[in-house]
């Protein structure tokens, strides 16, 4: 039961996400039937699932929402921005209800219930005179007989039902279907037809001779009503006329049914589907053209057959379509398997151990020098590599799901601030490790909110400076040299550097009169306790933000940069490692310790040319390449060897050299975090275990390059060399 529940909750959250996305889409294209259907399906699936796990409060709430959606679908009401807002709120509310369910509460908190009622009231207050009675208050079956006097409702279905005689023998109880029907809506009036009943002595007690004419008020769609009779589809004749059917349809129906025309007409009048006058007119009109040619008596029969023929293919088609849907769904389910994340993590851990073990086998095999053993070991290494790649692939998810959440955020925040902003998403198919995706959401939300609040100007301001009235916010993701880059850019006013400097001086982050480059000024916004907004809104501007963003990203071994041009916009780019688990590395040695440089960042290796000066840059085919000695940077004991090697690395647009003692070749690196104790360590991103069992340290190349560039700037500024940053 618990498993069922958790599956329901997970799936419903997915459905909600789909629902929300579709709603937002619908806002821009209100007439898109497919989107509307998608929304309806999502709501319906949630309701259905909630019914299965017997969660009454979700069923009743979702039911009302579904009713409104159905009316939208039928074109009874129009979709406006207000309605979308309410529906979005409803989808949030369903999310909250799911949370309650997950927490194991039998009934949601009173406050939540009150919220729900308020939302439903808003839904109904939207000028949609709909029957919003939730499922559980549907009229019980035993009051059906007394409902005859009730005034006809405007949107009543008409259902004609004739059970075959053998239905009881097949184990079906007609009454249970009527009871079930009553859960979908209200049976306004029902007439029982006992015309087929033979005289008492010819009657078989095990046969069913009854037929029903039902006036049925419901917001369910035809498929849902038909669905009620799924089990007896073969054992009954079913005609369903939608609300507001044309009179002719009723006449056709009367013709199609086996009973006497006049008797049926009377019944329909009694049921309230049509009036007596309408019936008379209709029957007359029907007979007039018939009198022209063929004898009148044969036409009804012909029409009956024709009618039956027309109805049948439709039913068959519907059934086929329905079967097709079920089939598609099953196939899709077969392609996707739900796996608990910790099982996956365990697998990845094991694969990591396997990689270490196999490199150790490889090392030992090469020591023996036996060729068969070497061959077998290299085959195993190759297989382990493929296993590693496939295992890691399991954890990769597309970043698009994270991005699409922002449609809603941008919509809500820009509405709140009265700005008109368009969100453009690119690179949603870029894949990223799931653990990274989970943690990057919050920093991204912060950047997006900031861009809307501070970045993009108000519409009036924009028009005044000659920009398009509609602001533009871009989310972009792409791969770049072993990292993934996420960009948030806006076309707003850009960073106000004067204001930043003034604020930084005020907060004594810098000294007044200090000379800073533009990039340095821009990066001041990441300092703790910094905010340039003149007014603190409830969205941002409390000065607790950018530094948290920066810290969160750093904890993912990533970094964030900002670039801005006044008047044209600001761009934040977040650079993250692709995976948190295993990478291809390049092993180098310095002193007694081995270091790993992520292979994606290595451009080339060369021997360090003999140095004539003490400068920390060299001539790389005419290019000035700043470099740093790992020995000096890490203060390693011992003498520099006579021959040193340079590994040229690249991160983003920056290139630099790292000088090491030896080059040891490629190495599959299983990243082991160094832990809290070493959290202050800059330049080292983690550790790994070599085939020999020794621990090697993984270099954090972007931060090293940063240090190299800073050092270069320092060495230019001052006369003496600084060996460490």
């Amino acid at each position: 039961m618990d498993e069922l529940l958790s599956v329901f909750v997970t799936e419903s959250h997915e459905q909600l996400a789909a629902l929300e996305a579709a709603l937002l889409q619908l806002e821009t294209a209100p007439d898109d039937v497919d989107t509307l259907n998608a929304i309806f399906r999502a709501a319906h699936t949630i309701k259905g699932g909630a019914g299965v796990i017997e969660c009454g409060y979700i069923v009743s709430f979702t039911h009302v929402v579904e009713n409104v959606l159905d009316q939208l679908r039928n074109g009874d009401i129009r979709l406006g921005t207000d309605l979308v807002a309410v529906l979005l709120a409803c989808s949030d509310h369903i999310g909250l209800l799911l949370g309650e369910l997950e927490a194991g509460h039998a009934t949601p908190a009173d406050l939540l219930l009150a919220d729900g009622d308020a939302l439903l009231a808003r839904l109904q207050g939207n000028g949609l005179g709909l029957d919003a009675s939730p499922v559980h208050s549907a009229v019980p079956v035993d009051v059906l007989e007394s409902l005859g006097g009730e005034t006809a409702e405007p949107d009543c279905w008409h259902i004609s039902l004739r059970f075959e005689p053998h239905v009881l023998r097949n184990g079906m109880d007609p009454l249970s279907f009527l009871r079930y029907l009553a859960t979908l809506g209200t049976i306004v009036h029902m007439e029982t037809l006992a015309d087929a009943m033979p005289s008492a002595d010819a009657m078989d007690a095990e046969a069913c001779y009854l037929g029903f004419e039902i006036r049925f008020a419901s917001c369910a769609d035809k498929a849902a009503i038909e669905g009620v009779f799924d089990f007896v589809r073969d054992d009954c004749t079913l005609h369903i006329l939608p609300p507001h059917s044309r009179l002719a349809d009723y006449i056709d129906l009367i013709q199609a049914l086996p009973e006497d025309v006049m008797r049926l007409g009377e019944i329909l009048v009694r049921v309230g589907a049509i009036t007596q006058a309408e019936l008379d007119d209709g029957l007359l009109a029907q007979q007039t053209p018939a009198a022209d040619g063929v004898p009148a008596t044969t036409i009804p029969l012909g029409e009956i057959l024709q009618q039956q023929q027309v109805v049948r293919p439709e039913l068959v088609e519907a059934a086929v379509a329905k079967q097709g849907q079920v089939h598609d769904k099953k196939a899709a389910e077969a392609r996707l398997i739900r796996i608990q994340a910790d099982k996956l993590d365990r697998l990845i851990d094991l694969v990591g151990e396997l990689v270490i073990a196999s490199s150790s086998v490889g090392l030992l095999a090469s020591r023996t020098g036996r060729s068969e053993l070497l061959e077998a070991a290299s085959l195993m290494t190759r297989l382990v590599e493929s296993t590693r790649d496939s295992a890691l692939q399991l954890r990769m998810v597309q970043v698009g799901d994270t991005f699409s959440r922002f449609n809603r955020i941008v919509r809500d925040v820009s509405k709140e601030l009265g700005k008109d902003i368009e969100l453009v998403i690119a690179g949603g198919e870029t894949e990223l490790d799931k653990s990274v995706v989970e943690k990057i959401g919050d920093p991204l939300i912060h950047l997006v909110r900031n861009a809307i609040d501070h970045g993009i100007e108000s519409t009036a301001q924009r028009i005044a400076v000659g920009k398009p009235a509609r602001g533009r916010l871009e989310l972009n993701a792409f791969h770049d040299s072993g990292s993934i880059v996420l960009e948030v850019s806006d076309d707003g006013g850009g960073l106000n550097r004067d204001k930043i400097v003034a604020k930084a001086v005020e907060r004594s982050l810098i000294q007044s009169g200090q000379n800073l480059s533009e990039a340095e000024i821009d990066n001041l916004i990441f300092e703790p306790g910094f905010s340039t907004a003149d007014q603190v809104s409830n969205l941002s501007g409390r000065g607790v933000g950018m530094d948290v963003v920066k810290r969160n990203i750093q904890s993912l071994r990533g970094r964030v940069d900002v670039s801005s041009s006044p008047g044209a916009g600001t761009r934040f780019s977040i650079r993250l490692p692709l995976t948190m688990a295993i990478i291809d590395g390049f092993l180098v040695g310095a002193g007694r310790v081995s270091y790993v440089i992520p292979l994606d960042m290595v451009v080339e290796c060369l021997e360090l040319p003999p140095q004539t000066t003490d400068n920390h840059y060299l001539n790389l085919r005419g290019e000035v390449l700043p470099f740093i000695r790992l020995r000096e940077l890490f203060d390693l004991p011992g003498q520099r060897p006579l021959r040193e090697n340079v590994v040229v690395v690249r991160a983003g647009s920056q290139k630099a050299g790292i000088v090491v003692d030896q080059l040891q070749g490629e190495f599959q690196t299983v990243i082991k975090p160094l832990g809290q104790l070493f959290r202050s360590l800059r330049g080292i991103g983690g550790s790994t275990i070599l085939g020999s069992g020794e621990v090697a340290l993984i270099l954090d190349v972007p931060s090293l390059i940063q240090q190299i560039i800073q050092q270069e700037a320092c060495s230019v500024a001052s006369q003496f060399q600084i060996s460490t940053p």
Partner: protein, 184 residues
């Protein structure tokens, strides 16, 4: 395991009371700079022979390095340096005692194994609670808050260490950050 950490805590928590009633607790004794120390046995996972470890650059002297403990990277603390004395000289009997520590990061309880470098391990002793004196305010060679109590064993005093203090990840991390800044 939370009980294990509670046991080494100075405050008289319920667990301590229970233990005190039970009477004796077991301690591992070891020598360091010719002095006898003891730690509660519940935190100890294993004792391994010293082998070459990987030094981490730019760290204070008491962070000796990291070792590979069956696939996990475990930091090794030089206790002697941590107590402010000279770094441990590696000898034939030098051992690494692996202890399991718990600390909280952002509200989550994180378990971390830490190795401590000792000159030699001696034995496992039972020290009755009434044989443990409170730490002296001064006079000991190490910081008073590192001492859980002074156990009396065969007429000698054994310094029972408060490992939560000695191996406080927070404190050591801060010192590491400071020394990093100084060098950097």
């Amino acid at each position: 395991m939370s009980q294990a950490t509670a046991l080494t805590r100075r405050d008289a928590s319920a667990a301590d009371a229970v233990e005190a009633e039970a009477g004796a607790k077991q301690y591992l004794t070891f020598t360091l700079n010719a002095q006898l120390f003891a730690v509660g046995i519940l935190n100890i996972k294993e004792i391994i022979e010293y082998h070459q470890l990987t030094e981490i650059p730019l760290m204070p002297a008491f962070i000796h390095g990291v070792i590979n403990l069956r696939g996990a990277v475990v930091p090794v603390i030089d206790l002697s340096a941590r107590f402010g004395a000279k770094p441990t000289a590696i000898g034939r009997r030098t051992c690494i005692v692996i202890v399991e520590m718990h600390h909280r990061v952002d509200g989550a309880d994180i378990q971390q194994d830490i190795g401590i470098l000792v000159d030699s391990v001696n034995e496992v002793l039972e020290i009755p609670a009434d044989e443990i004196e409170p730490a002296p305010a001064f006079g000991a060679t190490i910081r008073a808050d590192f001492i859980f109590g002074m156990g009396k064993v065969a007429g000698r005093f054994v310094i029972i260490l408060d490992l939560d203090r000695v191996l406080s990840i927070d404190e050591m991390g801060q010192i590491a950050a400071l020394s990093h800044d100084e060098k950097g």
